[in-house]
């Protein structure tokens, strides 16, 4: 046994207690409300949204619609009359999510044999058999429509990709990829501040970037009539939807 410099036997020092980090308890439950549940601003009767929500919840009880954002890679199988085996499977990156209520849609993009293909699916269409999330990653923008003018390598997704696993309450990783574009002309002038795109690596001359700043509208963020605070509405709807789904 070890002896100290004095020559006397040292007292027994118990080893330090291990620190147990219970990951399940520490991380707060992530609240995700699908954007089509939030009613748009308008003069329609809230009763119409309530009835639409009942139908949407009813469909979600029978068919699982996973949580996904723009930038995820999804595989959708639909029932198709004119396809072999009457079933059609398409894999692609989600470019945009539009529509509210039962008519909510999402557009998937993929490049198949050098041809870019975009398909717009309706979330609540009864013909959809399954939606699988293959890869989870958020991107810097709300929509990825600029992928149409980007080099095709950024839109290609392997059709036989295996689904990636992820924990329930983990943070969804944000991919800060800066996409390289094809030479101009583009379908939209993405360098203009109106689109507020952060995911493009602009290799344009400085003169074009300076000229694009002319279309800046710095007063827009202070416009009070455009404010639509959805936090309270979202909370109420999230509680309602969760309660119904747990039944």
């Amino acid at each position: 046994c070890r002896t100290s410099s004095d020559g006397k036997p040292t007292e027994f020092q118990p080893p330090p207690k291990p620190i147990i980090i219970d990951k399940l308890k520490q991380i707060e439950e992530r609240r995700f409300l699908s954007p089509e549940f939030v009613p748009p601003r308008g003069r329609t009767d809230p009763l119409k949204f309530y009835i639409e929500r009942k139908d949407m919840i009813q469909r979600r009880k029978v068919f699982n619609i996973p949580e996904f954002y723009v930038g995820h890679i999804l595989a959708v199988t639909t029932a198709d009359l004119y396809a072999k085996d009457k079933v059609n499977r398409f894999v692609g990156i989600c470019i945009q999510r539009g529509g509210k209520g039962l008519g909510a849609t999402f557009v998937l993009r993929n490049v198949i044999e050098d041809q870019g293909v975009e398909i717009c699916y309706e979330l609540y269409n009864p013909r959809i058999q399954a939606i699988e999330v293959l890869k989870l990653e958020k991107r810097l923008d709300d929509h990825l429509l600029y992928l149409r003018d980007a080099l095709p390598e950024y839109s290609t997704v392997d059709v036989n990709m295996k689904p990636e696993t992820h924990l329930e309450n983990d943070e969804i990783p944000v991919n800060k990829l800066q996409v390289r574009m094809k030479p101009k002309p583009w379908s939209k002038r993405w360098e203009r501040p109106k689109y507020n795109i952060k995911g493009i690596k602009f290799e344009l001359p400085e003169k074009t970037m300076e000229e694009a700043k002319k279309w800046r509208q710095p007063w827009l963020e202070f416009d009070m009539l455009r404010e639509y605070d959805t936090s309270k509405i979202e909370e109420k709807i999230w509680k309602e939807v969760n309660e119904e789904l747990k039944k």
């Binding site: 009835i51 009813q58 068919f63 039962l102 009864p126």
Partner: protein
């Protein structure tokens, strides 16, 4: 307006119409009205009883009903008469029926001839002097006058129009909502008159409708949602083709 899917996977757009506090107000006999059939006055949404003349309020007082915002007249045969004061519900209609919907169209104000009547106007360039959206010629030389009813600029919209032959897909008895195929004239939350279709193709479509009307205090207990046979209900699993 909402989408609705059939069991074969087809999508149709559907308008939601709510039956809000409808009561039968008055019965006018055939001789009184001077028409071919008797008439029934039906009132719609409840409104404030103030700022209205006594003669207008008389009808509501006799029926024992709060003042209604919209009153419409229905031609009714003698065997389908209903006592004034009875409430009318959405279950009066059944899924699979065909219906005509009348309402005042959205008012567009004073509009030019291109928007109001769909005229083509004139080209934007190639020497046109101050003439791009004008009607052009309004009559011929031989006529030497302008005919009555000539299409010209004027107030557009805010007139009664009917959408004919709309199918009823679904009825919600709890909230009194009728799901009607396609679009309906009028802005959102406007007052609308719904009537059984008069088109000759749909004459024999109503099989056992509630006659003369659906009485809520009767013995019939309807489920909360009534669907047409072709409608895809969200409690079923996804549609597959075999």
């Amino acid at each position: 307006m909402m989408p609705i899917w059939t069991k074969s996977g087809k999508k149709h757009a559907v308008t939601l119409l709510k039956v809000q506090d409808c009561h039968v107000l008055k019965y006018i006999s055939k001789e009184e009205s001077g028409g071919k059939t008797a008439k029934l006055l039906v009132g719609g949404k409840n409104g404030s009883p103030f700022f209205k003349s006594e003669s207008a309020m008389e009808i509501f007082r006799e029926a024992g009903v709060p003042r209604k915002q919209k009153i419409s007249i229905f031609n009714v045969t003698d065997d389908a008469l209903v006592k004034p004061g009875t409430p009318l519900y959405a279950a009066h209609f059944r899924p699979g029926q065909f219906v005509d919907v009348t309402a005042k169209t959205i008012g567009k104000g004073f509009q030019g001839v291109m928007k109001r009547w769909g005229f083509k106007g004139q080209p934007a360039s190639h020497g046109q002097t101050k003439t791009h959206r004008r009607p052009g010629a309004i009559s011929t030389n031989k006529a030497s006058k302008v005919y009555r009813g000539k299409k010209m600029p004027g107030k557009m919209g805010n007139i009664y129009r009917t959408a004919l032959g709309l199918k009823v897909w679904r009825i919600n008895t709890k909230h009194d909502i009728i799901y009607v195929n396609g679009s309906v004239p009028g802005h959102t939350n406007c007052l609308v008159k719904i009537r059984d279709s008069k088109l000759p193709t749909y004459k024999d479509c109503n099989k056992n409708p509630p006659f003369p009307t659906f009485f809520a205090d009767g013995d019939e207990k309807l489920p909360e949602d009534l669907y047409d046979e072709e409608v895809f209900q969200f409690t079923d699993p996804s549609v597959t083709y075999t």
